[in-house]
């Protein structure tokens, strides 16, 4: 575990050297900041707008950072051949994958924290300090982002960057639309396709589960129980993704 932590810190520092992190962060802050200029709206609507835009921004840009960081975490190491020295040291391949997961999760944490601080500052500025529901929303986004990153990390152990990038974004979109899946499945007539669709429906992570902002923004509270269950749902998916990643990385020749 100590070795995984050493690798995690190294991954964290290395990711902080990347320009993408700062560019995405600045753009996200600009978008959050801009949300307050919809001042033609009534005060109450403006606040909803700020929250809505900010939560979406934190989620979307967080997802971009999660995917790009995870991509660089494995293939960057292989491309630059730093992996040779690393794997010749007394670490297991699971140390490596778990270290990478922790490292990229720290980057996501930092990113979400910075965006949230800015957003919360804005709320204070608008004389509407955040309540616990706001933090629940951000927390679930954070879990979702770790999940997104862990899937990209896992795919990186056996697929090319190009495939991984397309796959990750595709999954990001599908994962958000999957709630509509049952309606679509009913319309499919081919039995085989329907079975297949049904299977995918149960396998693909439902990212919308982590999205409670629509309720929070209009003032509907979300229970701790829901937060707990959804977190557990996320952790199970993260664990599966990491196990798949470890499995393939043990077979990977670098």
């Amino acid at each position: 575990m100590k070795k995984a932590w050493t690798i995690a810190l190294n991954t964290f520092h290395e990711s902080l050297r990347k320009k993408t992190f700062y560019i995405l962060l600045v753009v996200a802050l600009v978008v959050i900041g801009a949300s307050r200029f919809f001042s033609f709206l009534a005060a109450e609507d403006e606040l909803k707008m700020i929250k809505d835009v900010s939560f979406s921004t934190i989620e979307f840009f967080g997802a971009l950072i999660a995917i790009f960081t995870a991509l660089a975490a494995v293939s960057g190491e292989i491309e630059k051949r730093t992996i040779y020295t690393l794997l010749s040291k007394p670490i297991t391949r699971s140390n490596f994958i778990i270290g990478k997961l922790i490292g990229q999760s720290l980057i996501i944490l930092l990113n979400v924290a910075l965006m949230s601080i800015f957003f919360i500052g804005l709320l204070f500025f608008k004389k509407s300090p955040p309540d616990i529901q706001t933090f629940k929303t951000i927390f679930l986004i954070f879990i979702e982002l770790i999940l997104i990153g862990s899937i990209t990390l896992s795919v990186a152990t056996f697929a090319t960057d190009a495939f991984n990038l397309i796959f990750s974004f595709f999954l990001y979109i599908i994962g958000h639309l999957i709630s509509y899946g049952t309606q679509m499945l009913e319309r499919i007539e081919n039995v085989v396709l329907q079975r297949l669709g049904n299977m995918l429906y149960h396998v693909i992570p439902n990212y919308e589960n982590f999205n409670i902002k629509d309720k929070i923004v209009v003032g509907v509270d979300v229970s701790w129980q829901y937060v707990g269950q959804t977190t557990l749902y996320g952790i199970i998916y993260i664990a599966i993704a990491v196990l798949i990643g470890i499995h393939f990385f043990y077979k990977r020749e670098v």
Binding site: K2, K3, T6, I7, N10, H13, E14, R17, K80, R81, T82, I83, Y84, T85, L86, L87, S88, K89, P90, I91, T92, K251, E253, V254
Partner: protein, 262 residues
């Protein structure tokens, strides 16, 4: 008992469903404790492949490896190994001391010991005056030298070096050679690969010659020179390769091409 042993080790790289490269073919060899063992061979003969197999970075298609009585994936065994890859490359935003600290931590070494070893190793590889320089500003020779320091951070029993003198100038080569002798004297077993003949000639107690993934011959330099009636290592090299090629039906032309590439 031998410190490192390979038994009928083969590695076939699959490029596509139809194309494959046999990079190593049925290699059986053993390296005894306290040797400086040299793997010689022209470009593409399988030297790097062999070393990567020994470190568990890639996996054999056929055959077995044992290092200190364990297989090559044993984390415990790796505590006793230092490795310098071919054209080493490290996290280039770190400085020399930071790199050594990072790898030292992977060996669970206490911070105090890491600091001590860092100082003495930077001294040893002559990088003491570049302590604050990040690796991206290093020259090729400096990278090779920090690589040597990295491979020594854990004070390993076994040192595996893939072409440790590429990129070094004649003085750097000599310094490395002297360093290898010193390490050998302190009881380390060294396995190195090289296609740079004169260097190997001077430090190795025993050599193998690889060619197209095959182990052509092995022994001490004197015994091989005698066996092949060769004047020097270079001559031996060419003769061994010619003999192999004629036995396996290669043309004289191939051999000459090889000779010019040596």
């Amino acid at each position: 008992m031998a410190l490192i042993e390979t038994r009928e080790l083969s590695k076939v790289y699959t490029l596509s469903s139809k194309k494959s490269v046999t990079a190593l073919n049925n290699v059986t060899m053993s390296i005894e404790e306290g040797e400086i063992f040299g793997i010689l061979g022209p470009n593409g003969s399988g030297k790097t492949t062999c070393l990567k197999l020994l470190l568990g970075i890639i996996f054999p298609t056929e055959g077995e490896i044992s290092i200190m009585g364990q297989n090559q994936y044993s984390v415990v065994t790796k505590k006793n190994i230092g490795f310098l890859p071919e054209n080493p490359y490290y996290y280039d935003y770190l400085t020399g001391p930071e790199i050594l600290k990072f790898y030292g931590k992977l060996f669970d070494m206490p911070p105090g010991i890491i600091r001590e070893r860092t100082d003495s190793l930077l001294e040893l590889v002559n990088l003491n005056n570049a302590k604050n320089l990040s690796l991206k500003h290093y020259s090729k020779g400096m990278l090779e030298r920090i690589g040597l320091a990295v491979s020594l951070i854990n004070d390993p029993k076994i040192l595996i070096l893939d072409e440790p003198t590429t990129g070094l100038d004649p003085i750097g080569c000599k310094e490395t050679r002297d360093l290898l002798k010193k390490l050998h004297d302190s009881g380390k077993t060294i396995l190195l690969s090289s296609h740079f003949l004169s260097e190997v000639e001077r430090v190795c107690s025993r050599i193998v010659i690889f060619h197209k993934g095959n182990l052509l011959t092995t022994g001490t330099l004197e015994s091989l020179l005698e066996e092949y009636k060769a004047e020097n290592l270079e001559d031996l090299f060419v003769k061994a390769i010619r003999k192999f090629d004629s036995e396996t039906g290669q043309t004289e032309e191939d051999a000459i091409n090889l000779q010019s590439s040596v």
